[in-house]
Subunit: 295 residues, 2 copies
């Protein structure tokens, strides 16, 4: 398969669905405008694409879980808006454009994040979207997504991140933080897609193993790109993590070792995907692509 063409087709499907599921409306006012501003600020749609591929891997129809894929992107975008706030990472640019609080002010940026998070949950329980699916599986997918977003997942990981700035680099803390902050939602993406599409418990278990490895590798690749990329490629300030004393993989184990760890993780993830048969081929390619970006 041609991964680039696959990713580009899926990104277009996701973009169209997001626009349909959170349409521009006069009555939505400035907060809806701010929600859409960040949602359409050029994301790669990795989490939705993983959710669709998770459904595909267990023999399901990706279109059927599109609402969940879109919910994942809304949860992801909410977390970026809040993480960028002056009281958190204080980032002025993201994906090459000014962050929400730079455009709309801090108050509205907090609300835009809150609006996207709640809208994700509205989607996950929307009868127009879930009609015909097993309601127990819909609840199970919600549970997986919200635990990943909450204080045992992303919220907790961001809190550890805030607390660990300028602490002594420590591999255990870095791994714990990233497993919560990035890994949980990436895992939940592929897992929720598979649950909604009727995956059996063993398939879902394997996809969780896949997701954990891909999630960590993705963060390692991100850390490497922050060190080695340039503003045009990254769309944000380069070396910002280092300047802030952020605890990253390269800071803890060095660039070469971080690259090696990332490569091992994606190799494992690709092998797990291959074990699930040809329907999981896109997941295997996606895993390999993550570290390929950093070369």
């Amino acid at each position: 398969m041609e991964l680039k063409a696959y990713l580009s087709r899926r990104r277009e499907m996701v973009d169209a669905a997001l626009d349909r599921l959170l349409p521009a409306q006069e009555a939505g006012g400035r907060v809806l405008e701010a929600m859409r501003y960040s949602l359409f600020a050029g994301g790669k749609r990795l989490r939705p694409i993983l959710c669709l591929a998770g459904a595909e891997a267990v023999g399901g129809d990706p279109e059927r879980v599109m609402f969940c894929a879109c919910a994942m992107e809304m949860v992801h975008t909410y977390s970026l808006i809040h993480d960028d706030l002056p009281a958190m990472d204080d980032d002025e640019f993201r994906r090459g454009v000014p962050t929400s609080h730079m455009v709309y002010g801090e108050g509205l940026a907090v609300l835009a994040g809150d609006g996207l998070l709640t809208q994700a949950m509205v989607l996950l329980s929307d009868p127009a979207q879930t009609d015909g699916l097993d309601p127990c599986r819909v609840l199970e997918a919600s549970q997986v997504v919200m635990k990943a977003a909450g204080y045992v997942g992303m919220v907790g990981g961001q809190a550890v991140d805030l607390a660990s700035e300028n602490l002594k680099p420590d591999l255990a803390i870095v791994q714990y933080m990233h497993a919560m902050k990035t890994g949980a939602l990436i895992t939940a993406s592929v897992q929720s897609g598979a649950i909604l599409a009727g995956g059996d418990p063993e398939q879902v278990r394997q996809l969780v193993r896949y997701g954990r490895r891909v999630g960590l590798a993705f963060q390692i690749a991100d850390d490497l790109l922050d060190l080695e990329g340039d503003f045009n490629a990254l769309g944000k300030k380069v070396g910002a993590d280092l300047a802030r004393g952020k605890m990253t993989y390269p800071a803890v184990v060095g660039v070469a070792q971080a690259r090696k760890m990332g490569q091992e993780l994606v190799d494992q993830a690709a092998a797990i995907a291959e074990g699930l048969g040809p329907a999981a081929a896109p997941l295997a390619e996606l895993a390999r692509y993550i570290m390929a970006r950093t070369h």
Copy 2:
């Protein structure tokens, strides 16, 4: 019935359930500590009590919907934490104690709010809580709660509030803003309790009518107390709305007319509750109590 004793018993039930459903844990770190700090900062538990009473009004067991009642309080507390932030209403005290960002800093306060909102959704899809309930009704209740919390509800109302400071007082804007900001979640509380407890469509429809009136009356009472109360009774700065040029009912229609409107609304709500039979008697008493607080 003795309303004060009823409220006090219900408040104790809710407090115990909240402590059970969001227990203190070493591993939860500072963010869980901050979530619990605001959750146990002396709330009246009005929304959970309405949720339990909604279940009771349609002949259900209030204990069976306690997880939803607790989720409502988590959503409410999240909104208070975010509304109090310096970028929003910039409040230093709430219920007589320092607000979250005063104690934990702005970054952690944003995360504590996010953590409570996501935890509410974790509860609403938790198999340990929903086991034995009709999963379609569980999804319907989630939908009601999350729409009320989102940009068509609380988030949208807070955005209108931010935008309307120092605008010319206007009754239509005040009513629209409060219907979204306060009314939506109060209505969702009684509605979700009734849905989960098996209420029929007509019962639920009447409870929605009840909730809308109680929600608006509650905000009118709050506005009156902000003008007329004192710090010890309120636990926050008195006259803060006026000082900030906030658009309140008394500012728009005057104190006497606001009081009259509030009284009419609670009289209507009480009549609706009485129409639902003796099981809804607590709802009728609760409605009347709202304006009685302001005398």
